[in-house]
């Protein structure tokens, strides 16, 4: 990037060009930043003014946060371990019906989560397509933590698989071929060459998927139900508090905001370090 030497607010590539256009672009960015920060500021101000910090330390809040951490961790484990090889196949192989399969994986992303919840309920509920067989074995899915994980995986997997597919398809085949010529097996090439090269995309996809799983509300409340410590994740706890105690609902929102922000920041710093080490 060429330096303009002015050191002003405008990005250097914009400053040299059409000033009106760049001015408009910068205004748009400022509007967007304001639009996003205002609601966040409102949450914080309310918590400070009402002094409702204590609501973050209630058993309900603690159980909800722990449940969210537990369920999103399991969901991410499932999404990454199944999604990584699946994304590789989508990126590398051509087969009959690939386009159809591709669109199928995108469906949960365009389906409203409440609709996803109803679909899951009709699948895994007591008289559901799969549920009736599980019920025969005495396995009940709805109202359990497993149902929360199922809902999270269903709505979030797409975000990881999509990014990972793009990441894998950008890894040059000749690099993989060269490693293979050097005697590496196909699993060795995958884990030692392909995955490290695609890592930034994989991490970005995982963060998106995790954020989606953390925020999951519609499918969970419809499918899994809401019970403290079992199915009541943070978004559900916020909604439950909103029915009875607005201050607590705001405090929980601030809590999840801080939690999500910290996780994303840590991941960004770690990936920056990892990619810096690579080169």
């Amino acid at each position: 990037m060429k330096k303009t030497g002015k050191g002003g607010l405008l990005p250097s590539t914009l400053a040299g060009g059409d000033t009106l256009a760049s001015g408009m672009a910068v205004t748009a960015l400022a509007l967007l930043a304001g639009f996003i920060s205002l609601p966040i500021l409102s949450l914080l101000l309310w918590t400070v003014n009402e002094n409702s910090w204590r609501a973050m330390a209630t058993p309900e809040a603690r159980d909800a946060l722990l449940l969210s951490i537990r369920t999103t961790s399991i969901s991410m484990l499932i999404i990454v371990s199944v999604g990584t090889p699946a994304a590789y196949v989508l990126a590398r192989k051509n087969f009959h019906g690939k386009r159809l399969l591709d669109s199928l994986i995108d469906i949960p992303a365009v389906l409203p989560p409440s609709a996803a919840g109803i679909a899951l309920l009709l699948t895994f509920g007591r008289f559901g397509l799969a549920g009736k067989y599980l019920e025969a074995f005495g396995v009940q899915v709805t109202f359990t933590t497993a149902a929360v994980v199922i809902a999270e995986v269903f709505v979030a997997a797409h975000f990881y698989v999509r990014q990972a597919t793009v990441g894998f398809s950008q890894v040059r085949r000749d690099v993989e071929e060269a490693a293979r010529v050097d005697g590496a097996g196909s699993i060795g090439v995958f884990t030692k060459i392909t995955v490290p090269l695609a890592l930034p995309a994989l991490v970005a996809g995982a963060v998106m998927a995790w954020a989606r799983a953390l925020g999951e509300f519609g499918a969970t409340i419809v499918f899994a139900g809401s019970f403290q410590g079992v199915t009541q994740t943070i978004p559900l706890a916020i909604f439950a508090e909103f029915q009875s105690n607005l201050d607590a609902a705001v405090a929980l929102s601030v809590l999840v905001l801080g939690f999500a922000f910290t996780v994303i920041l840590v991941v960004k710093v770690l990936t920056a370090r990892m990619t810096a080490d690579e080169y």
């Binding site: 309920l121 509920g125 007591r126 139900g225 809401s226 019970f227 009541q232 029915q243 009875s244």
Partner: protein, 267 residues
């Protein structure tokens, strides 16, 4: 224009956003007015029918009804959601709204409702009478804390404890597998048969679910009758329309419609 509408939409819908609202009392012919009614979930069907009647009687008026648990509606009103009428499923929420000076005039009790137990028609947990909800392994769902239907259920269990011996309430509560957002959500758990039972209002046993569910009565001496107050709101965009709505609901015709949907007339 579109930008200005967005914050209004986010609250309860475009009603009361200044679109089509005329000066109080002046309704010009051909100009659309909007009446926003916030009502307890258990009124969904009856008020849906009353909406049609009201719109026939007032051709230039559009009724926008929003159905949530009374506690959610109260929060929305306290947060300044634009609305003309509030119909609550419990006295407490209306009292609170009145205490905050949000209600115009004196609220009227317009209908009564009793609690029942609703079970799937196949009745997998074999609940034949009220006491059976305490049996082990019954999957019971309740509405969220603070939702009147659930609060009444807890009061009923408290009374039952005195009659059936201590431990009854605890046995029932240990059967609870989920607290749903409102009564309708809890009833739907029973409709799809994932839950074995829920506490709902008699009005929740609507015609469309009668082939999938059945009712188990709660003994009258233990039951609690819910009284529903209705009031026009202080900040109503259309105070006249709000009054007309309350009149319709408390009229003979309105009471007949409410009765059709399982509610007990109270005017």
């Amino acid at each position: 224009m579109a930008v200005l509408l967005v914050p209004c939409l986010a609250i309860v819908g475009p009603a009361g956003c200044g679109v089509g609202s005329s000066d109080a009392g002046v309704r010009e012919a051909g100009q659309e007015s909007t009446l926003t009614v916030l009502a307890a979930s258990s009124l969904t069907d009856a008020f849906g029918e009353l909406t049609k009647i009201f719109e026939e009687q007032n051709p230039d008026t559009e009724v926008r009804a929003s159905f949530e648990s009374s506690s959610t509606l109260l929060t929305q009103i306290q947060q300044g959601a634009p609305a003309d009428v509030f119909a609550s499923a419990a006295q407490d929420e209306m009292d609170e709204a009145a205490k905050d000076g949000l209600v115009a005039g004196k609220p009227k009790i317009f209908v009564k409702n009793r609690e029942v137990i609703i079970v799937p028609v196949a009745n997998p947990a074999n609940i034949e009478r009220f006491r059976d909800v305490a049996k082990p392994d019954v999957r019971l769902v309740l509405a969220e804390d603070g939702v009147p239907a659930a609060d009444y259920a807890l009061k009923i269990l408290g009374k039952a404890n005195a009659e059936y011996g201590s431990g009854f309430e605890q046995d029932v509560l240990s059967n609870v597998v989920s607290r749903e957002a409102d009564v309708r959500a809890a009833v739907n758990r029973v409709v799809v048969s994932d839950a074995d039972a829920t506490f709902g209002y008699a009005s929740d046993y609507t015609p469309d679910i009668r082939n999938r569910t059945k009712v188990v009565q709660i003994p009258p001496d233990l039951n609690i009758v819910a009284t529903y107050p209705i009031a026009a709101l202080e900040d109503a965009e259309n105070p006249d329309l709000a009054r007309d709505w309350v009149s319709l609901v408390t009229s003979e015709e309105g009471q007949r419609v409410l009765e059709e949907w399982g509610l007990e007339p109270a005017v």
